[in-house]
């Protein structure tokens, strides 16, 4: 029976939520799903997870039931997520189970690395960053030109289709099966020498580089005065966001210069740019308009920032802040 292989991303014992999108695509394709996952319960692992889905489980899902088969790989996660090893794992697995129809990875730092290496190694067709699938026409959608155009792609060669899936695209299709999954194990496969994991490094917090932040909470003149800053810092902390600001805020030295967004400050491109009390002067916009998702909070519905925002809240920013703090703490 044809099946789909989902290579799960488990990082530091956590089963990444974006794996659900990979599972979701397979479900949408109506495939029998095999989940290839690190079994961290081995002697190399110092943090054995509580479940195959990672030590945190899967939130609301009783995760095990999302797939048909779980293939546990007896290997420490850092080795598992090494493309040089991954080809060995996949080979071993295919040798034992036969070739899948698709091999699905997450579209992430490691997912694409693994997928491209696997595709190259086995000379397989590959498509990355898939964000849609039309079952009837059997085409995959892929973003082009920073999401301005989508391309429809189809496999044009033999062998399993290697795919990476954009997070957030298919999660809703990942539904529980009626039966619990079959658990399989892979133990014996070659370990490559060319690349070795050394350690995890937490990004240095000392010098904040707002251009590298994924989530910026940016404040503008609308915050009114310097005394409000600590509360926004608190909010940023709770949201795990980095605090940045527009020029007036920097000018008044409410925030350090390094945190200025705009043409005269830094040009940023985070995944989420949450602008509070920023009206959206041209120079500011130029510094953040390419952010993946812009959320603006401003009491003035005419503020130019709303022209660039994907989401907006028209309200007093302090009220929004207090409410968010309340929700986050409560």
């Amino acid at each position: 029976m044809s099946y789909a292989l989902v290579v799960a991303e488990v990082r530091r014992g956590v089963f990444e939520e974006r794996n659900l999108d990979a599972i979701g695509l397979c479900a949408l394709m109506e495939k029998d799903i095999s989940l290839l996952v690190t079994d961290n319960n081995n002697e190399m692992n110092q943090n054995p997870p509580s479940s195959p889905f990672g030590k945190e489980g899967l939130g609301g899902f009783s995760g095990e039931k999302l797939v048909n088969t779980i293939i546990k790989v007896k290997i420490e996660e850092a080795l598992f997520l090494n493309p040089l090893n991954m080809v060995g794992v996949v080979k071993t697995m295919m040798d034992s189970k036969g070739k899948p129809d698709v091999i699905v990875f997450t579209h992430s730092s490691s997912g694409t690395e693994l997928a491209s290496y696997v595709a190259g190694y086995f000379d397989l067709p590959l498509i990355t960053d898939v964000n849609g699938f039309d079952k009837e026409r059997d085409v995959f959608f892929k973003s082009y030109y920073s999401d301005k155009i989508f391309g429809e792609f189809r496999k044009a060669a033999q062998g399993p289709f290697v795919i990476t899936v954009r997070s957030g695209s298919f999660k809703e299709y990942a539904v529980e099966k009626t039966t619990p999954p079959v658990i399989e194990t892979i133990e014996d496969f070659p370990i490559a020498e060319g690349r070795n994991f050394m350690e995890y490094v937490e990004e240095e917090k000392a010098e904040i580089d707002i251009t590298k932040a994924e989530f910026l909470l940016s404040v503008g003149r609308g915050i009114g005065n310097k005394d409000e800053i600590p509360d926004y810092e608190k909010l940023a902390d709770l949201l795990k966001a980095t605090l940045s600001g527009s020029r007036p805020v920097i000018d008044k030295m409410w925030l350090p210069k390094a945190r200025q967004v705009g043409t005269s400050g830094k040009t940023v491109k985070p995944k989420v740019y949450l602008a509070m009390g920023i009206s959206g002067a041209f120079q500011h916009i130029a510094g953040m308009k390419d952010s993946d998702c812009i959320i603006a909070v401003n009491k003035d519905p005419e503020a130019p920032i709303f022209q660039y925002a994907h989401f907006g809240i028209i309200a007093d920013i302090h009220k929004v802040r207090d409410k968010l703090l309340e929700v986050l703490k409560g």
Binding site: R11, E17, P83, L84, V87, S109, S110, T112, E113, L114, S116, Y117, A119, G120, Y121, P125, L126, T128, R137, V139, F141, Y144, S146, K148, I149, F150, G151, E152, F153, K155, A156, A157, G194, R195, N196, M198, Y200, V201, E202, E203, D209, T211, K212, E214, F215, L239, V272, D290, D292, C293, I294, I295, F306, Q307, F311, G312, I313, L324, V327, L328
Partner: protein, 259 residues
């Protein structure tokens, strides 16, 4: 150290409204200005910096039409020694095909190298796959999303990969290898027009892609181009403040920036 760095000339579509023509057969790029792929810019800079420290030479390679010479000149202006253009009029959508072309080229021309640098992805097709496929095809170690090269020794590289959520992974990779560079790894130097003009005096070699087509088949088929579903301005989260705030948090979760 001899480093090969790939650089691509891409359309600067960020600001443009793109039009699909021929019922989905093509995207009209006639009015779109072109530029160097952002990731490749970092990648060239990183390679040049390494060579500046360790000695050796950087060879910049570009696949594309004759205009792609521009990005080679740019790379030379930044410090690359040579520029090779593998000239082709075709657009190669399949990263596998691109990798095969490169593989054939390197083999046939016996280009010596200690490492190959690529950008993580190109701005236009955003595949992010050529480096990985190429490494696998060449049987070399591969490391992608490299945000820092901590050491570049005669036989190995210590690099940091950027993972999600502020986490990095430090790895040691044996040379030769393929390294895909992430933006932000450095601050690429500015290449002035005068610098580019001077670089024009350095001869670039031009190769015909047609000579390296062995086994180069497209394994995926681009069926058609479509417009993504329209967003249409900001979605205003209205209603009760508490509801709006919860909705906001939901969006943050969905975007993967808040758990």
């Amino acid at each position: 150290m001899n480093l090969i760095v790939f650089t691509k000339r891409v359309p600067a579509t960020q600001e443009e409204e793109l039009r699909i023509t021929g019922e989905g057969k093509a995207v009209d790029l006639s009015k779109v200005p072109f530029k160097v792929n952002d990731w490749d810019n970092y990648s060239v800079e990183e390679a040049v910096r390494i060579v500046e420290k360790t000695g050796g030479a950087v060879t910049a390679v570009s696949i594309g039409d004759a205009e792609s010479d521009e990005v080679l000149r740019r790379a030379i202006a930044m410090g690359a020694k040579d520029g090779f253009l593998i000239e082709t009029g075709d657009v190669l959508h399949d990263p596998g095909a691109r990798a095969t072309l490169i593989q054939n080229f390197l083999k046939k021309e016996s280009v010596p190298f200690d490492a190959i640098f690529t950008g993580v992805q190109s701005e236009d097709d955003q595949f992010g796959a050529v480096g990985g496929i190429l490494a696998a095809k060449l049987g070399l170690p591969f490391v992608s999303m490299v945000i820092s090269i901590d050491a570049f020794e005669s036989d190995h590289v210590i690099a940091r990969r950027e993972l999600e959520g502020g986490l990095q992974e430090r790895v040691k990779v044996i040379l030769p290898c393929v390294i895909s560079i992430q933006t932000g790894i450095n601050e690429p130097r500015y290449v002035s027009i005068m610098g580019v003009r001077k670089a024009s005096k350095v001869e670039r070699k031009v190769f015909k892609a047609a000579d390296y087509q062995e086994n180069m088949v497209s394994k995926i088929e681009a069926v058609k181009w479509v417009y993504p579903p329209k967003k249409g301005g900001a979605t205003i989260l209205s209603g009760e403040l508490e509801g709006a705030c919860k909705e906001l948090l939901g969006i943050l979760k969905e975007k993967g920036v808040y758990q």
